[in-house]
Symmetry: C2
Subunit: 253 residues, 2 copies
């Protein structure tokens, strides 16, 4: 990519014992990653940490120092194991306060569901100075404080919060990609892949093997922020496959 273009980066901290125990299969890494691509922001690292304040603080501070944005998922609900707000406030060295607008949102949301109680009021707590991210699904908002963004753990609520953030974050040129699928063992073409990638410095080629219908194949994903460079690299890659007698499919298999 052009050297004068800043590459915007994000870190993601997934918070939850349920992921580390294997009980819950995380779906947020993939959806945050895909969403970030469209915003022109590169997901640079993900950490999955347990419901332990010190571990959350460590991950948040390391990744927010290393990246332009820091996202978290999980731990912003009403129960005792929801400690993300407390941990992030400590990481940012600000107190936890009740956000008046969040409190009003929750009062309205729970008006016909028994009203606010201690647990529900927890969801109005934010690190001081934060603004809210709307949650049309279940009332309790997400939280943004400058470049730190706290979202729900339940994937469809996370999705709603990402939707509310769409276009709101500064990013760079979205990374473009094109996938070429081929019924070959990747080990047959490893040398050619390396040569083609080396010849196109603004492009990366990822190779993702699979086994399907009793046959081996691979998808080769070419990525670049520049559409012209991407097209040239894909051209050389498909030429290389054709020269070796392999059939390939644009769009992947």
């Amino acid at each position: 990519m052009p050297s004068n273009d800043k590459i915007w980066t994000a870190g993601l901290v997934v918070i939850g014992d349920e992921i580390l125990s294997g009980r819950t299969h995380d779906k947020n890494i993939a959806q945050v990653a895909s969403w970030l691509q469209v915003q022109g922001i590169r997901l640079a690292e993900v950490r999955v940490v347990p419901d332990v304040v010190a571990r959350i603080i460590e991950a948040v501070n390391q990744l927010r120092a290393a990246c332009d944005y820091l996202f978290t998922t999980g731990g912003i609900g009403p129960t005792h194991d929801d400690i993300t707000v407390d941990a992030v406030a400590q990481a940012l060295d600000v107190p936890v306060v009740i956000h008046p607008e969040a409190r009003a949102i929750l009062e309205r949301y729970y008006a016909d569901k028994g009203g606010l109680n201690e647990g529900r009021l927890r969801m109005a707590r934010v690190p001081e100075g934060a603004e809210l991210i709307p949650n049309r699904m279940s009332g309790a908002p997400g939280i943004r404080r400058e470049n730190v963004i706290l979202m729900a753990g339940v994937p469809h609520i996370t999705a709603g919060m990402l939707d509310a953030l769409t276009g709101k974050l500064e990013g760079g040129a979205p990374l473009k990609s094109e996938t070429i699928g081929c019924w070959t063992a990747e080990s047959e073409v490893a040398g050619m892949l390396r040569e083609v990638e080396s010849a196109h410095e603004n492009c990366q080629i990822g190779s993702y093997p699979f086994f399907r219908e009793g046959r081996v194949g691979a998808n080769f994903v070419v990525r670049s922020t520049d559409a012209g460079d991407l097209a040239k690299c894909v051209h050389d890659l498909t030429d290389g496959l054709a020269e070796r007698g392999f059939e390939f499919t644009h769009g992947g298999i």
Copy 2:
């Protein structure tokens, strides 16, 4: 859990641009997590890092210092973006060598598939001093060097390598868990959950809300290494739910 029992821990480094781009949905975190539970080893942290040697080295060194075991998935195939062995060897400060047994395995595996070539021979490279983890699925073995274990990224190959390691690692008492499902908003019972957990110091209670069939519910997962403590905590939790008029389901909803 009894204080004289060592808690064995593992870190997992998932290596791959395809996960960070959102193109591939990771399945290895959940399967490694579940497998570790049965071995009596707790998954303490996961990091997902890109195909960049320096980033792999950093994650591997931080997590292997913090945990009893360090697992990686991804990046041990034949192509130019498979750099896990090189990165881990640098992290361990040992050279990369061709493992003679791995070479022999690959020679046999590829005998009727065109034989070894430069790419395929890459899969016989290991950090010096490593032993092999069998891979019945696709020839190329996993790699173990003391407490550092390198596995494939393709989930069903990873599964085969985990199977080959079953019972081979020293661990503690497996964490037991019991799930109580309840058609309640978790915010209705947050205070009670906190009290019950506090009264049972060897147990943890996780609360996992869901929305299904237009209704809100939650699964409460009680975890302990001690079956007796676990049963007592589950008893108090279900008593608390019953007192508040909630129906619950053993085994979760």
